[in-house]
Amino acid sequence: MMAEYSAFSLLANALKGNKDWKPAWRKPDPKASYDVIIIGGGGHGLATAYYLAKEHGITNVAVLEKGWLGSGNVGRNTTAVRSNYLLPANTRFYEHSMKLWEGLSHELNYNVMFSQRGCLNLAHTPAQFDDYARRGNAMRHLGVDAELMTPAEIKRLVPALDISSDARFPVVGGLMQRRAGTARHDAVAWGYARGADRRGVDIIENCEVTGFLRDGDRITGVTTSRGDIRAKKVAIAVAGSTGRVMQLAGIETMPIESHVLQAFVTESLKPFIDTVVTFGMGHFYMSQSDKGGLVYGGDIDGYNSYAQRGNLPIVDEVMSEMLALFPGLARVRMLRSWGGVCDMSMDGSPIITAGPLPGMYLNCGWCYGGFKATPASGWCFAWTIAKDEPHDFNAPFTLDRFHRGLVIDDKGQGANPRLH
């Protein structure tokens, strides 16, 4: 019997010194073959396995993870969840994700600590405020909540924010999505892993894919550090490692660049902000974790990188932006910083599709917005794998859209991944 959590089991185990907890998922050896192999044991891969088993009854599934479960971006992000996009394809997809988030702890019997504390985008010029009004209207048109806020309302919500007229970039208003918020990122990976495992999915850690088994063009399995494994369908959900894995399949170029994104956390403070705040004049976003640390980040470093660490210029820039908004944080100490590798696509939107080779399914291009997409990404990818065709939610997110002129460029930045 695997670990089941309830108020009673927590109390009973506490009284017994927490010595009798069972592992939340098995540690199986790989079988010789599966119906579906999912490469990548991060949030998206685990969610895909969960929904394959739960929604489509496909349980003869292996998730292959080269490190330990959740060691990649699902454990490295800044935990924000939102669906405040401009373009309909993105809005519909991320709103589907938001609705899955709203029921996720109950669905998984695992507390992912989803907290709808809101996400506030600050506007610093009248033109930017107009742009937010346009985006807010586009969101409401598709049934997503959005509201414009005045500086006085913002000051009541976030008292620590410098909204004075002599601030470096005075705040003229903001766009608020109340249903947005944060979630405990590790718990999302663990919850999906346990849910998938319980339905029969084999989660195989420390199993690195080293190549693909092929029959002509068709992918028939993978070679791994733990032997060859055959499968009818091989699904790839490896985020920043997409380029490397696709090259193993002989696909040299992709509409993807891998970039490093840094994130930071301060020492624990008393309650300071109870929402997610984003800066409109640079790139900065911050929330406060339940432990009290301020969790924040900014831009990617801006050059191709597979190193899970960045350089100092971005550290300097992020700190400067934080102090421009919150001068009162000047003496707070930064506790930790880290980096994750992001699969930056050419239009800032993801790819969830069957192909490009027969027997292969591809999920990538999350830029640095992959965490909030986790439930819908897994849900749509599972649908695509099970039915060999996309759901309406992910039909626009094809791989060939770039060559067909069907890009989904929410920010209008063009094919320059470091700007998305």
Partner: protein, 98 residues
């Protein structure tokens, strides 16, 4: 990360602007080969290891540089003027991408 500009010497990365993948071959401006243009605009090699890329020393001498940098370690193994490519007619070919 320091980039050693052949003109200015070693300088902090903050002085440079990243211009991206240096492996791409821009089609002739008069070309109507849409596939070649699409590939030029959207497709990237994105290697884990040595990457041939273009940087501009925008905070210095403003020249464009062809840099070979390891994307796993950020170690830079060579820096040269991009304009040298044209002088010698040596645009990057597929076989020397590795």
């Amino acid at each position: 990360m320091l980039i050693t500009c052949p003109y200015c010497g070693p300088r902090d990365v903050i002085e440079f602007t990243y211009q991206g993948d240096g492996n791409r071959e821009r089609p002739d401006p008069a070309s109507q080969n849409f596939e070649a243009w699409n590939a030029y605009v959207y497709d990237r090699l994105n290697p884990a290891g040595d990457h041939n890329e273009i940087w501009q020393h925008s905070g210095g001498c403003r020249t464009h540089l062809r840099v070979v940098r390891n994307t796993l370690t950020h170690e830079i193994s060579s820096v040269a003027f991009v304009r040298g490519d044209h002088a010698s007619g040596a645009r990057r070919k597929a076989e020397d991408r590795s």
